[in-house]
Symmetry: C2
Subunit: 304 residues, 2 copies
């Protein structure tokens, strides 16, 4: 049986069974060390799969760090140390240096440090980052409780629209299109949410696969039903302009877009914090599955 | 300028300069956390570069763990947690499962645990492991002192001979050849040396690039001269048989072979431990460079 027959999650389940590990399946592993917790995660960007050669290498470096930091944040911690493992064909050294400029900028922004790494030869460029963070109270995907409200940071769907624009490979883009492209190329992990999440969240996950797909992980791991109200989804004015021009529905982008790197989290309604750009988009109840406007949603990208 | 013009170490130096990090350049990073030290390292096996598709996947999984554990040992610690990042083309799922069986066996042997990972699509198989260990007293490459003796664990050169035999891709191998192949495919990181190293070593490094190349790292980072006595190099009877049959010099294999994953370390002569398979092969003095039998050696693999 080929990997494609099993699917990514089918394969991960099999590997998890072989190892018999309980940590696998969360955004990051949380291990007690002394009186604190270490958070650990890894995520790779592969050329031709996650980025194209023509993308600015500084942006690729920034993103490679951000997607890992995003997992640490969803795990309820701050990033501390990174290791960067590069697989490189024989390309221009200046490309690798620009990649590292982006990594450095991201480290300064998120207040973490590259402490080591590895360079190997290979046929395609891979930037594989390992991040270690620290937490007083790790958050898991399995903590959502009936009665909680469902919240999301920032706006949703921008990254997917930005990707579509990028793939058009035009010479000229309008300002709102450039803003969307920027959100795909250079996502910002929500480091400003760490304190709030650690204090109040019962559950958190970063939105990398798309709102519905990631909500489904929460619902199944927490053993709850999640209801999303599509009228409440936070949409940027740039995404609305993009969709208006093309006769598309921005709600579909917000529900299934992916790579937003916003945080989806749950806690009681009254913990809403006016100083953060958080939006209540639904609620948690007993049962199972993810419902949008009362209808169960099982698919994902197929809606596009 | 292409990466090949700069060389691996030239590239790493440039990246280190961009980041301004002091940790990079050692076998692993050592970070104080609470009252102990965390050791972190990463090393990747790339298909077509570090292994071939026809190698038993269990062996590849075992080796991917062992090469990382070896760095943690050289850093003066025991491994605790691993993350496994896989880049996979659409291959048979059973291949990945067998890879994981090897990873699991290695974790049981070294007493560490896979706590997470990642799976990405790609054109070639990469097993990228990230290891976190723990140490009371981290060892560095820069601690060798004039007056120390130079020691090595186990025997040297076997892995290189095993690789040459493997590449012949014969149907039948003799028992001593199979033993050498096994040492290339399934190296054992010297976990039995951790206590001795932490207690006595002034400096340690694992032999992955070859004895002379790794001794050169120690000499340049410690600011000392290293003398190796070729008559003292520990050679296995299997390597001697292999070399006799082919009219080759086993000393060349021991000096330049690489991938032995033995530990090269320094401490006063009187700390020699009869319960370990350690051999005194030379000494450390003031000066610079690596000398074999009194002659400075600058090259590496070119001796083959």
């Amino acid at each position: 049986m080929l990997i494609s027959d099993l699917g990514e999650f089918g394969l991960i389940k099999r590997l998890k069974d072989i190892l018999g590990s309980r940590e696998i399946g969360h955004d990051c592993a949380a291990l007690k060390f002394g009186d604190r917790y270490l958070l650990m995660t890894t995520d790779a960007l592969v050329e031709g799969v996650h980025f194209l050669k023509r993308y600015p290498p500084e942006a690729v470096g920034w993103k490679a760090v951000s997607v890992n930091v995003s997992d640490i944040i969803a795990g309820g911690g701050n990033p501390r140390w990174l290791l960067v493992s590069l697989i490189l064909p024989n390309i221009e050294a200046s490309y690798v240096e620009r990649l590292y400029e982006g990594i450095k900028k991201a480290c300064e922004f998120y207040k973490c440090e590259v402490v080591g790494g590895n360079v190997s030869k290979g046929r395609e460029t891979v930037i594989d980052v390992f991040a270690v963070g620290e937490s007083e109270r790790p958050l898991r995907r399995d903590g959502a409780k009936p009665g909680d409200s469902l919240f999301v940071s920032g706006t949703l769907g921008d990254s997917r629209a930005g990707l579509e624009l990028l793939l058009e490979n035009r010479k000229d883009y309008k300002p709102h299109e450039l803003a969307l492209i920027e959100r795909h190329l250079r996502p910002t992990a929500r480091i400003d949410y760490v304190k709030h999440l650690v204090k109040y969240a019962s559950c958190a996950v970063d939105i990398s696969d798309g709102l519905v797909a990631d909500a489904r992980h929460v619902a199944s791991m927490s053993g709850v039903r999640i209801d999303i109200d599509s009228k409440k989804l936070p949409l940027s004015k740039e995404l609305k302009m993009f969709c208006e021009e093309r006769g598309k529905d921005p709600v579909q982008y917000a529900l299934f877009g992916g790579e937003d790197y916003q945080i989806l989290f749950t806690h009681p309604k009254e913990r809403w914090n006016p100083f953060l750009d958080m939006t209540e988009i639904g609620n948690v109840s007993e049962g199972s599955g993810v419902y949008v406007d009362g209808k169960e949603v099982s698919g994902g990208y197929s809606h596009f």
